[in-house]
């Protein structure tokens, strides 16, 4: 009752009770356009799940898994070419690899594990969902940690998961020797990335704009990062220590407002194509049926970089405890939006911008030399 009154008063006065205020991009998240200046290694729409495997890089494209090999273009610039392709039968939502071991999450099938010298096998365990596995990571050759985004929606339907305020995600540990699965955490709001640190398990909880730090048996929960101005996604360890964090979409005050407007939100979800919702997106501005905001209007034929936007590109370099150090941005007017996957190979960080359909490479050493 008192809470209802508080909410009504807050609504009347127009202030915010539940963290709906988008924090400014500041400090290590100070905006820049670095992602847009990086060399583009490959252009391919909907590319996702970049994973290093030996000298190659593998990635997913809808139902397929592609093998990418480095090559040089005629001008001598580093590029990638597709050297292998195999069909998994359904959408590949996540890939993890360590040594020669490979884990593939395929919608409807579950997790397929391929180990050297063994037949591929599918993990079947009680309660472990077969859909919407958003991220996986090997702790060692026999232990796989798995983030399940949502028990209700497919991974590709993540907008619906957000706009219906679903919190049905979970985190699992799978023992590959026995095939047993343990649930470490549940009722999470779209866990979308997972990584193992020295002390804990880092899990991005996208819709709550934070990165959780779980103990490896799931008994303790803390926050490694919270109050983020964007939705955190995949996390990978950096070879030189610390982590890389990809944030796949920015938070937006209008979206936060719509999230509070239940009536409008429900009607929007029921009657409108998700591509045209007021919702974060991997790449906004594809169609004129999408909503735009006041500051997104072109003035003097120019889209301002600071325009409000439903999509951006953002990669953050973090230290061992996930403290943010610096970041790489592609702003409203940029062209590397919707970064969903990262992978380190050959001294480069490959940035997979699924929204813009590009792979760009960050050379951390030269970047630092430039800075």
């Amino acid at each position: 009752m008192i809470n209802a009154l508080k909410r009504a008063w807050a609504n009347f006065r127009g202030f915010d009770l539940d963290g709906g205020t988008v924090p400014p991009l500041d400090g290590p998240l100070r905006p820049n356009a670095k992602l847009d200046t990086l060399p583009v290694l490959l252009r391919m729409d909907d590319i996702d799940n970049l994973t290093a495997q030996g000298d190659h890089v593998i990635c997913s494209l809808h139902n397929d898994i592609l093998t990418l090999s480095p090559t040089r273009s005629e001008g001598g610039a580093q590029t990638f070419e597709v050297t292998g392709r195999r069909d998994c039968g359904a959408t590949v939502t996540s890939i993890a690899s360590t040594g020669g071991h490979l884990a593939l999450a395929v919608d409807g099938k579950g997790i397929v594990v391929e180990r050297p010298g063994e037949e591929p096998r599918t993990i079947v365990a009680d309660g472990l969902p077969k859909n919407c596995i958003t991220a996986m990571t090997f702790a060692d050759a026999d232990t796989l940690f798995v983030a399940v985004g949502s028990a209700r929606h497919a991974a590709s339907d993540w907008k619906r998961d957000l706009m219906t305020k679903t919190a049905s995600g979970s985190v699992w540990r799978i023992d590959l020797k026995t095939g047993g699965a343990t649930q470490l955490a549940s009722d999470l709001a779209f866990p979308s990335g997972i990584a193992v640190s020295a002390k804990s398990l880092l899990v991005s909880e996208a819709w709550r704009h934070r990165v959780l730090a779980l103990s490896q048996d799931g008994s303790q929960q803390g926050f490694a990062l919270s109050g983020l101005p964007a939705y955190p996604g995949r996390i990978i360890p950096a070879a030189s220590g610390g982590f890389w964090l990809a944030m796949f979409a920015p938070r937006n005050p209008l979206v936060e407002f719509v999230l509070k407007e239940d009536d409008y939100r429900n009607r929007m979800v029921e009657t409108i194509d998700p591509a045209h919702w007021i919702a974060p997106s991997l790449l906004a501005g594809r169609s004129f049926l999408e909503p735009i905001q006041g500051g997104t209007r072109k003035k003097l034929n120019m889209l301002k970089p600071w325009s409000p936007t439903f999509s951006t590109g953002l990669v953050v370099r973090c230290d061992e405890t996930m403290g943010m150090l610096h970041s790489y941005h592609s702003r409203a007017d940029g062209e590397v939006h919707g970064v969903t996957s990262l992978c380190e190979t050959g001294g480069y960080l490959l940035v997979g911008a699924r929204g813009s359909g590009k792979i760009v490479a960050i050379d951390e050493l030269t970047q630092q030399a430039m800075a």
Binding site: G14, T271, I278, E290, P291, I292, G295, K298, L300, N301
Partner: protein, 706 residues
């Protein structure tokens, strides 16, 4: 229609939400609260006090009001100039005493006494005025001291003269007439006060000295910089104040014929309470005679009512003190928050259900997507900003407006060189040539102007008739948008909205209320009148070829209508297109007998849904920063061609708006289509392969050059 849709529709249709904001933006709203408090007080006291409305009590009240009202008015005048006069009560008491001495003791003629009293008042005021106005002492302390000094003089003289005052008596008819007489049934003193109040009202609201007075109180430094003699104005207010108080004392003496040790005690607090209750600002710059009257009546009624109810004097004073405190609090909050409240509640979205948007990607759709406008030739890139409309004359010169308030002319035929054809000051929007080659142009915020071929600028009109039922004065043109000329010379132009300025057009989109109109200016009579009221963002207008009707666009309803101003269908409006996929802007003629229409932005399902949920948009306007508001998607450029039946014949797109986002106008001329956009920095030129390469609109309108 869903049930909550019906509710939203009914609410938006029958509850005039937008009026609250309009009422709050009126100047008289300051008086509304005190005035309702006054009515409430009269109602309550009238019902609990017997004989409250009887003739004798009203007459008594009127005489008291005459004196008290004068004192409050005196204080108000000082307060408007930014000062305060606490000595009003002492001057009042002193003049009561001196009047009685003059009349009763020395038996001087009444006019002489009156002149003496007024002179005394002036002298007292002059002392205050010199100290505060010229020597720049603090008004509060200075008048507090003069309060004590004048009061002391009163006490000293009163002790010496009280016996002789009591024993004296005046039989002067004039004295009795002033004290007890009536003029046409109205007490004499009230007539005197009313006359003075009326005079002050005229001075304060209609005359230069009054405006200067308010200016001094509102912003002393600005007033000084504007050349007002601030010190002299302040000096005068104190003189006027004390003179009026002296007159009030004179009237009091005439009515009662006696004085006591408590005469005028606490009167300054009562007067101050009255002034503040009426709405006069303590800081100066805001106040009026009506505020003073309302406040004076309120305090007088309360005071008398409390005495009537048998409440003792000190408690009455306490209650009045509490009311003063409360009034000061309300005054402070109101001053501080009025504009914020207004800003929050002014935006008042309406329910708007648009028909389903046509599917532009359906096979065979006349809106088939293309990128024809992406590779157009570009004119004036970077030289002009905001060519809302473009027009060409017979010599192929190209005219456009810019947001700097210029009309720029690009010389034909290559449009490489340009000059400022005319500088008018406001952003030029729709343009048209009349029969004699004058360029008619609508200017946002200014009205309808005419630029002759020799570059002389003439204002044709900037106001129309005020509509009877509107709260705000809607006679002034706020956003004249597009213009066209009938064969007989009558000029029809649209005004997009009367509620917002040009730069706030998107807020009007958020409201989607019928607050635009179509206006007619007749150059033969010089008169302007509103031809069609209540249009939803009336935008493009263009004459049909029958010479008795025109097409006009209403942007937010995504519709085109045809209006007959002459002929058998005179006065009729026919809807021509009601389901455009975007928001229509200017309409112009095409060489093949059809019409070109610019779509300034495209509809999206998220916004269409929001249009059916006014509450959602209202909350968005209050809670989300304007830069983050949901907007029509204007980052796409689109021009379509339609015929008189409303069929879409062709469409030209710049998807993604690389060259031409938000096309607001287009003009066909000799086989080319010229494109303008209100926030673009260029004009586009697209070759029309099938168009008549010799066609010029001016020739079609007015015939080939004579």
């Amino acid at each position: 229609m869903a049930s909550n849709d019906t509710l939203a529709y009914l609410r938006s249709r029958y509850l005039p939400d937008h009026l609250i904001g309009e009422v709050l933006s009126k100047r008289w709203i300051d008086n509304a609260i005190p005035f309702s408090a006054l009515l409430l007080t009269i109602a309550v006291l009238g019902s609990i006090i017997p004989d409250f409305f009887s003739a004798s009590s009203l007459s008594d009240l009127a005489r008291q009001f005459a004196e008290f009202g004068l004192v409050v008015l005196a204080l108000t005048v000082v307060m408007i100039s930014g000062g305060i006069d606490l000595s009003v009560a002492s001057v009042f008491a002193l003049s009561v005493l001196l009047s009685l001495i003059g009349v009763n003791v020395y038996e001087l003629p009444i006019p002489v006494v009156l002149i003496g009293i007024l002179a005394t008042g002036m002298a007292c005021g002059a002392i205050n005025g010199v100290l505060v106005g010229y020597l720049r002492l603090r008004a509060f302390l200075t008048t507090l001291v003069s309060l004590i000094i004048f009061r002391s003089i009163y006490e000293i003289v009163f002790l010496r003269m009280s016996t002789s005052i009591m024993s004296g008596f005046s039989m002067s008819d004039m004295w009795i007439f002033i004290g007890e007489g009536t003029i046409l049934g109205v007490p004499t003193s009230l007539v005197i006060t009313a006359t003075i109040a009326l005079a002050w009202h005229l001075v304060l609201s209609r005359m230069r000295p009054g405006w200067r007075l308010t200016a001094v109180g509102g912003a002393r430094r600005s007033a000084f910089n504007a050349g007002i003699n601030v010190r002299f104005m302040v000096f005068l207010t104190y003189v006027a104040s004390s003179t009026m108080c002296a007159l009030a004392g004179f009237l009091f003496a005439a009515r009662l014929g006696s004085t006591g040790s408590d005469t005028g005690v606490g009167l300054e607090v009562q007067a101050l309470t009255a002034a503040v209750l009426g709405g006069t600002a303590i800081g100066g710059g805001r106040g009026s005679v009506s505020k003073a009257i309302i406040g004076a009546l309120l305090v007088l009624l309360l005071n008398n009512g409390l005495i009537n109810l048998g409440i003792s004097g000190p408690i009455t004073s306490t209650i009045l003190g509490a009311i003063l405190l409360f009034a000061v609090f309300i005054d402070m909050r109101w001053q501080k928050h009025r504009h914020r409240i207004l800003a929050k509640i002014y935006v008042s979205p309406a329910y708007l259900k648009l028909p389903p948007a046509p599917k532009v990607d359906a096979p065979g759709s006349p809106y088939a997507l293309n990128d024809k406008l992406r590779s157009v030739e570009i004119i004036g890139l970077g030289e002009i900003e905001g060519p809302e409309d473009v027009i060409l004359d017979r010599e192929d010169n190209l005219y456009c407006g810019t947001r700097h308030g210029d009309i720029v002319r690009f010389f034909g035929p290559d449009h490489k060189r340009s000059e400022v054809f005319a500088h008018i000051g406001g952003h030029p929007l729709g343009m048209q040539f009349d029969r004699t080659g004058n360029l008619l142009v609508c200017i946002g915020g200014m009205g309808l102007f005419q630029v002759a071929p020799d570059k002389t600028v003439t204002k044709l009109t900037d106001e129309t008739n005020r509509s009877w039922a509107s709260v705000v004065d809607d006679s002034r043109l706020r956003l004249a948008d597009d213009v066209d000329v009938a064969p007989d010379g009558r000029i029809y132009f649209s005004e997009a909205t009367i509620r917002y300025e040009q730069e706030d057009w998107a807020t009007d989109a958020l409201e989607s209320r019928p607050s635009g109109r179509m206006i007619c200016y007749d150059p033969r009579t010089g008169k302007t009148h509103t031809e069609i009221p209540k249009l939803v963002f009336a935008n493009g207008v263009t004459m049909c070829r029958d010479g008795q009707s025109f097409m006009f666009a209403e942007s937010w309803t995504c519709s085109i209508s045809r209006y007959y101003f002459d002929g058998p269908k005179k006065g009729k409006i026919e809807r021509v297109i009601s389901d455009l996929p975007g928001y229509p802007d200017n309409i112009n003629r095409a060489s093949d007998g059809n019409f070109w229409l610019a779509l300034l932005g495209m509809r999206g399902p998220a916004l269409d849904l929001a249009m059916r949920m006014p509450g959602f948009r209202k909350r968005m306007a209050r809670r989300v920063a304007p830069d983050q508001w949901l907007y029509p998607n204007i980052n796409t450029g689109c021009v379509v061609k339609f015929n008189e039946k409303g069929e879409i014949l062709d469409s030209l797109w710049d998807l993604g708006g690389q060259n031409h986002p938000m096309i607001t106008s287009m003009r066909e001329h000799r086989g080319w289509l010229y494109l303008g956009g209100v926030s673009n920095n260029r004009i586009g030129r697209y070759h029309l392969p099938d168009a008549d390469p010799d066609w010029c609109a001016q020739d079609e309108y007015w015939g080939p050059r004579a």
